[in-house]
Symmetry: C2
Subunit: 367 residues, 2 copies
């Protein structure tokens, strides 16, 4: 069956921009496309395979990259967060425990906690228009009910806000609660070092930010957690229970490895990426749109509010679909069909020329 993707010259969808494959990853995908092809020379566990060199990647390169002792590849960021929750729960005697989240947390974290049989408590954001997370509030919540885990989204997937993780990691350390940092939108874009930030777990997403085919994620932590997160099977002592023996046994793994040298390079340009996002935000605001979230902004993910585009849509013959169609005509995609009032975009790895084209296109549509 032939499957074709609807392609756009410029795709603004934030979940797409960091996952565009490198040339090397595209070649690796073809080379290792067949089912279990990374397992030709398996010595008994995925992370120990040397041909292709998954072992070096998982045990040397990724720990160095993430500034921590140990890393495992998972089937995605949400699967990594579930693995941490499920492991922590298995390590405790209490039947009822909670995970304490920030109010900008991705939906899949709520569901991971539900799946692990954990309750939730939430530190709400400041709300419209900045949706900032005040990390001091975590301390109060922890004092009233000690959670199994604190989880901070860094940045979140709606507004692209970076809360003060260093302050929170000090609070958590003082109060003896582990802290997981969800970096699905930062690992692979910006420098994230677990030890510098003082957190217990970092989670990244291959398809969101590491130029890999989905689904694949990374989970980093220090040795103090090894016996809990990487506890071995009592039936098969070489296998890690929480990884179900092996995780990402396929093509997504080789794309992650193949893109990695370029990912290491691209994080050095993060400053320029933030500059471009700020420029874009400024130009769009000149057109009458409003950027929500932190200002000045520190990430390429931008939430834009456009009340007047919604007003246009109410009179337009294509109704809410006019914006999608007008953009599509000009080669721009990634804003959902039907959406006008507010939407998320990302400028990640767009050239300044492309960003100008997007601004110019919005200007034309509005005029």
């Amino acid at each position: 069956m032939q499957l074709k993707r609807q392609k756009f010259e410029i795709n603004l969808n934030p979940i797409q921009r960091g996952g565009i494959l490198t040339k090397e990853a595209r070649e690796a995908l073809i080379e290792f496309g067949d089912g279990y092809s990374v397992c030709d020379f398996c010595p008994g566990r995925l992370d120990l395979i040397e041909k292709p060199n998954i072992k070096n990647f998982i045990h040397e390169e990724l720990p160095e990259f993430l500034g921590c002792d140990l890393v495992r590849a998972t089937n995605g960021a949400r699967e990594a967060m579930f693995a941490v929750m499920n492991s922590l729960k298995a390590s405790r005697k209490e039947k009822k425990s909670i995970v304490l989240l920030d109010g900008n947390t991705h939906y899949s974290v709520y569901i991971a906690a539900e799946r692990a049989g954990l309750d939730l408590d939430v530190v709400e954001s400041s709300g419209y228009p900045e949706y900032k997370i005040d990390v001091k509030k975590f301390g109060e919540k922890i004092d009233s009910k000690k959670p199994l885990l604190v989880l901070l989204t860094y940045p979140d997937g709606n507004y692209g806000n970076f809360p003060d993780v260093k302050k929170l990691s000090k609070i958590c350390k003082n109060k003896g609660v582990p802290l997981l940092l969800n970096c699905a939108y930062s690992i692979g874009r910006a420098e994230i070092k677990l030890n510098n930030l003082g957190v217990d777990f970092v989670v990244g997403s291959g398809q969101k930010s590491m130029a890999a085919s989905g689904p694949i994620g990374v989970l980093g932590f220090n040795k103090e957690w090894e016996n809990i997160i990487l506890r071995k099977s009592k039936y098969y002592p070489k296998k890690e229970v929480e990884m179900l023996g092996c995780t990402s046994r396929g093509a997504s793994m080789v794309t992650l490895i193949a893109s990695f040298p370029k990912v290491k390079e691209r994080i050095k340009n993060w400053g320029e990426e933030v500059e471009k996002a700020r420029l874009f935000s400024k130009e769009m605001e000149k057109l009458g749109l409003k950027q929500l979230g932190e200002k000045p902004h520190n990430h390429d993910l931008l939430f834009l509010e456009a009340e007047f585009l919604y007003e246009i849509s109410r009179k337009h013959k294509k109704r809410g679909f006019f914006l999608y169609h007008e953009l599509k005509k000009r080669g721009i995609g990634g804003i959902k069909p039907g959406v006008t009032k507010n939407f998320k975009v990302s400028t990640y790895q767009l050239t300044r020329k492309e960003i100008n084209k997007v601004v110019q296109t919005f200007r034309e549509i509005i005029e």
Copy 2:
């Protein structure tokens, strides 16, 4: 980083033979290689995406193919089995429950049960040389301690044995215990219809038997289990807890869809595949090797014992590696370097000419 796979003209590894991509899957992999590319037009859940048409595939084609009401794609067969165990456990009040397995069960099932906090009991096989599972023994075990779930491997990944599932499904139905059939080595090779077999759950593997890139699996069941397996999130009512919202969000999904028309066709040739396996077994036995497992054999996965190759290896300058090297020289791979005494091979989708070449090669090596 350039990654190259060591390729063989003929790869005998059983985990590789059913996962070779079709031409259509290879094209789909390139088309949808980028990160989250299947999610361009997501209406809120992976299985509801219509562009590419995952919705039709998951909700129409797969249920028809597997003879059941509902199917979900998972991150693999083991992940599907964990999902069933975790769901069943969440649905019960008892703290301690067991899963009852057959003695030929794949290691990942033991680990899935451990991860779900479940104990195990095992119906042992008949042992050497046939390793058959007598399903009547399940009845006795169930009577002495009622399990949460019975799991049968169909066929197992060591000997390629098919136990009497219809008899077992009657036993389980009578005793009111759900039965999961692990068909990682059969769905995509042979016809498997849940309703004909009378089981509660079927699990398949995209990379093992459905010509897909790993990791991806399928989980089929009837509506009676919907509220347990597909229970919705209390926080996000559209999302399914056990799927963590969405599962296989990437390239492996499109390869599964793209190969599916050919997979549906190839299962019609299953009789011929069994014939070829039997022929191969007979020829190898003429050379002095011994096929373990059921005889006559009913699957392409063959466990061969070769005591005399081991004897050769003890005197050979390459020791145990001689067999791997001799085969490699002649373009044949898939038997682990260092192994001689016994090994698993598969003849799946090899031509008779290729099978003859393998037999002839072994003959030359032995002589």
